[in-house]
């Protein structure tokens, strides 16, 4: 907090200062509500019954008595969690798929992307007529590519390659999807590392790769974590390709959530429970590692 010299500032300034504080915190609280309320709504709805949903009851215990209905339908309520539940089995499989594919794809993208970004920031290449700037543009331009352009070609090519509905196929798609953003973050990460460091390392007898592994990687690790988390978020929430290219073995949570409708309307409590279960893992990861996201993107944003 800023210490205030009350002798220097008059009453008016003090008043103004307090008014500013009031406005600042007012805005902060208002936006925090905007950010958090939907999450609260989702979680609380998962504990409602039909009547509570229809009445739009808001506050648990005060407005309505929390009920495990939604979680029971997922087989995750206290009374069902130890019984055999076909619904829970399905959910766990989707969750597991989401975990495997988003982690693997993000990791792969970070590895490939970091290497490429490092190369581009240190050496000048010439592949045919393509120079560094062209190669950079080639990678980053993939970011522009709308998924819908590749969707059908992937569908048919994957069928021919027997890659439909396989982990390998989905991980490849997701890696492709997040690779540009990883390169974009990592390129600026490497740009902040002075070249002199490696030069010193080379003089000390390390090879290029040795210098990269031993000197540079530890320095840009926070940036890599940031890129990894961002990639993870994008993969975890991806719906378009997952809906198209998976059927049984590699269905992810968003596909499961999106297909929850049907001829009998929506059981909001089940829907909310499922959404909560799908959202929370990532929110936890994000909240725990929030520092890294910001740190990584600081370098990314400020060239």
């Amino acid at each position: 907090m800023v210490s205030i010299d009350f002798d220097r500032y008059g009453r008016r300034q003090r008043l103004r200062w307090w008014a500013m504080r009031f406005v600042v915190y007012g805005l902060l609280v208002a936006w925090a509500v905007v950010c958090i309320f939907p999450l609260f709504w989702t979680v609380s709805t998962s504990f409602k019954t039909a009547a509570d949903v229809m009445k739009g009851n808001l506050v648990p215990w005060l407005d309505f008595a929390p009920n495990w209905l939604g979680w029971r339908s997922l087989g995750l309520s206290p009374d069902t969690v130890f019984n055999v539940s076909t619904v829970r089995e399905e959910f766990m499989r989707r969750l597991w798929n989401s975990v495997i594919m988003s982690v693997a794809a993000s990791a792969l993208a970070v590895i490939l992307g970091s290497l490429a970004a490092y190369g581009l920031s240190r050496f000048s290449y010439k592949f045919g007529y393509m120079r560094n700037s062209d190669i950079s543009f080639f990678f980053l331009s993939q970011l522009i590519m709308p998924p819908v352009v590749l969707a059908l070609p992937f569908l048919v090519l994957y069928k021919e390659l027997a890659l439909l509905d396989t982990y390998v196929g989905m991980i490849a798609v997701y890696t492709l999807m997040v690779l540009p953003i990883v390169i974009w973050i990592m390129r600026d990460q490497f740009a902040t590392v002075p070249v002199e460091l490696e030069e010193a390392a080379l003089v000390d007898g390390l090879s290029i790769w040795g210098a990269f592994m031993r000197i540079i990687l530890p320095l840009v690790l926070p940036g890599m974590v940031a890129a990894f988390i961002l990639a993870m978020i994008l993969c975890w929430n991806e719906y378009f390709f997952a809906a198209l290219l998976t059927s049984t073995n590699t269905n992810t949570l968003p596909v499961m959530i999106a297909s929850q409708t049907g001829s009998q309307g929506i059981n909001w409590w089940s829907m909310a429970a499922l959404s909560t279960a799908g959202i929370l893992p990532l929110v936890f990861v994000g909240v725990l590692l929030e520092k890294h996201i910001i740190a990584g993107m600081t370098a990314g944003a400020v060239k």
Binding site: E89, V156, K159, G262, G265, N267
Partner: protein, 546 residues
């Protein structure tokens, strides 16, 4: 409906069946005789079982959950045990594609099949699809040759797309015996479920859209001011307009009349315009109501269809729908709106009746009434091109019911094939189906044995309610002027594109109902040409019995 009338109907139907089915009835007799030849105690045990499963979890005890499905599946395993030895399918893995509707369809199947898996040793992998994605996914599987499922939950309209292309496995005889296929209501018997004389389907559902209404909106001193619910669509529209600005007697929220789903639903949404149109367009004695059987030209832009579209547009203009109706998912109309107390009239599949009393969402269980699709005070004769001022009605057999089919993928592996059919037969069993027709399942009554009112009464329904609800289904199934959709390839593409054009029309992007209908007709022509006019025409005529 009165019991006497119903019984008479059933008798008439039985006799007609015997005449029609000829040799096929021999097989049926075999099935019957085996039941009759059994000791009386067995029949009694079966009755006990039926009464027992109907009490899981019990009418008015809230919606059933996973534990209930598993219990029902376990109790109904006897027919399977008669045909399959314990552990016979050990090591077999099947892929099952079906709908992923919350607590319905695949959710139930998983529960039902869990004990089956435990008994037979087979393992099932699941492909879950949203209803709106269903058609698209199936079409793509077919065309790209990626039929990656062994068992599929599918509606009869898709038989043209699948059986017609030789993708399905013919049903073995023991299956039809196990599921007592002769018990099906008449309109679900061949040719439904068959293609070129071969049977492919284990029926698990029968479909017709019936009229549901709120009794507290009608009668002496009611807010509609009418003593009786409307008989015709003309009256339905009048009531809807008259209710604008009034208050619902049950919920205290604004009152609404008829609920039209206005948004697309992967093709399924078109059935609701059909409901309005059938009475206008389905001329008694003329089976054609979607296409001209001479040249496959769409009828959808003739004056009768345009009238149906115009009716909806008038109601939109009059603001007779709940706000945001245009963006409400069709699936919510029945269950999130009607059953939750919004709106007073609805056309829906039969499962709305069982759900009114057994679903967690329902608040209208005590004030809901049923009937067949509304009629019209005039009907369009497409041959003369004139409207005729006479009463007409034509229930819409929308979708002809879900069934379980087995694909060609298993045909070469006898063990796998038997496993697939055994799973299908388990789901289509006589007793399990009683449960699915009585509880939220996504399915409605489809067997003659489902219309035994005493069983329903014993389960906790009151007699009058169940007679009205089941009666509306039976009357629709057996209606002489029923509108049955043609089982031709790509039928859902026609629906889906129609839905799209309708959505544009309802949103005011076309100038008139006629223009909307013309756009649909043009799109249908395009699809017909794309799939092949000659072959479509041939299959269409065959499906109409011409």
């Amino acid at each position: 409906m009165k019991v006497e009338i119903y019984d008479a109907l059933m008798r008439r139907q039985a006799s007609r069946r015997e005449v029609l089915r000829g040799t096929a009835s021999a097989a049926a007799l075999l099935g019957v005789s085996s039941v009759m030849g059994g000791i009386p105690g067995m029949a009694l045990a079966a009755d006990d079982l039926r009464a027992q499963i109907l009490k899981i979890p019990g009418v008015g005890k809230g919606a059933p959950t996973d534990a209930d499905w598993q219990k029902v599946g376990e109790l109904c395993l006897e027919p399977t045990k008669a045909n399959v030895a314990a552990g016979e399918f050990a090591g077999v893995e099947l892929t099952f594609m079906g709908l992923n509707n919350q607590n319905l369809h695949n959710f139930l199947f998983r529960g039902f099949l869990k004990p089956w898996e435990a008994y037979t040793g087979a393992k099932i992998n699941w492909i879950d699809l949203a209803q709106a994605d269903y058609n698209a996914r199936l079409q793509q599987s077919i065309a790209t040759g990626t039929v990656d499922f062994d068992v599929i939950e599918m509606g009869a309209p898709f038989e043209g797309d699948t059986a017609g292309r030789g993708l399905l496995d013919e049903m073995p005889d023991w299956v039809s015996k196990q599921i007592e296929a002769d018990d099906l209501v008449d309109y679900l018997k061949a040719p439904v479920g068959t293609w070129e004389g071969k049977t492919y389907r284990v029926t698990i559902d029968g479909d017709c859209h019936t009229f549901a209404y709120r009794k507290d909106y009608f009668g002496e001193g009611s807010i509609s001011g009418r003593a009786e619910p409307p008989k015709t669509w003309q009256e339905v529209n009048e009531v809807s307009k008259a209710l604008i600005g009034k208050t619902d007697p049950l919920t205290g929220l604004p009152a609404y009349g008829y609920l039209d789903p206005l948004k697309g639903w992967g093709g399924f949404g078109f059935y609701f315009v059909e409901n309005r149109a059938t009475a206008y367009v389905k001329y008694p004695g003329d089976p054609a109501w979607l296409f001209d059987p001479e040249n496959m030209k769409p009828l959808v832009n003739n004056p009768a269809w345009v009238q149906a579209i115009q009716d909806v547009m008038d109601l939109i203009a009059a603001k007779a729908y709940p706000s945001d109706q245009i963006n409400a998912d069709p699936g919510t109309t029945a269950f999130s709106q009607f059953l939750a107390g919004t709106g007073s009239m609805l056309m829906w599949w039969g499962d709305v009746g069982s759900s009114a009393r057994t679903s967690d969402t329902s608040v209208v269980g005590d004030v809901v009434g049923f009937g067949i699709n509304r009629g019209s005070s005039r009907v369009y004769n497409r041959k003369t091109g004139q409207w005729e001022e006479k009463y007409n009605e034509a229930p819409n057999m929308a979708y002809i019911g879900w069934g379980i089919y087995v694909t060609k993928r298993v045909s070469d592996d006898e063990k796998k094939r038997k496993a697939a059919w055994s799973a299908a037969a388990h789901l289509g069993g006589k007793d399990i189906s009683l449960w699915t027709s009585a509880y939220p399942s996504g399915f409605q009554p489809y067997r003659q044995s489902h219309f035994n009112y005493d069983e329903w009464q014993a389960a906790g329904y009151d007699r009058a309610y169940i007679e009205e609800y089941l009666g509306s289904n039976a009357n629709s199934y057996n209606h002489p002027n029923a509108a049955i959709e043609p089982r031709i390839p790509g039928i859902f593409q026609y629906y889906s594109v129609a839905e799209d054009e309708l959505a544009k029309g309802f949103a005011g992007q076309y100038k008139s109902a006629q223009e909307t209908a013309d756009a649909i007709a043009a799109a249908w022509e395009k699809i017909t040409d794309q799939i092949g006019r000659e072959s479509q025409l041939k299959l269409y005529r065959a499906s109409l019995g011409l």
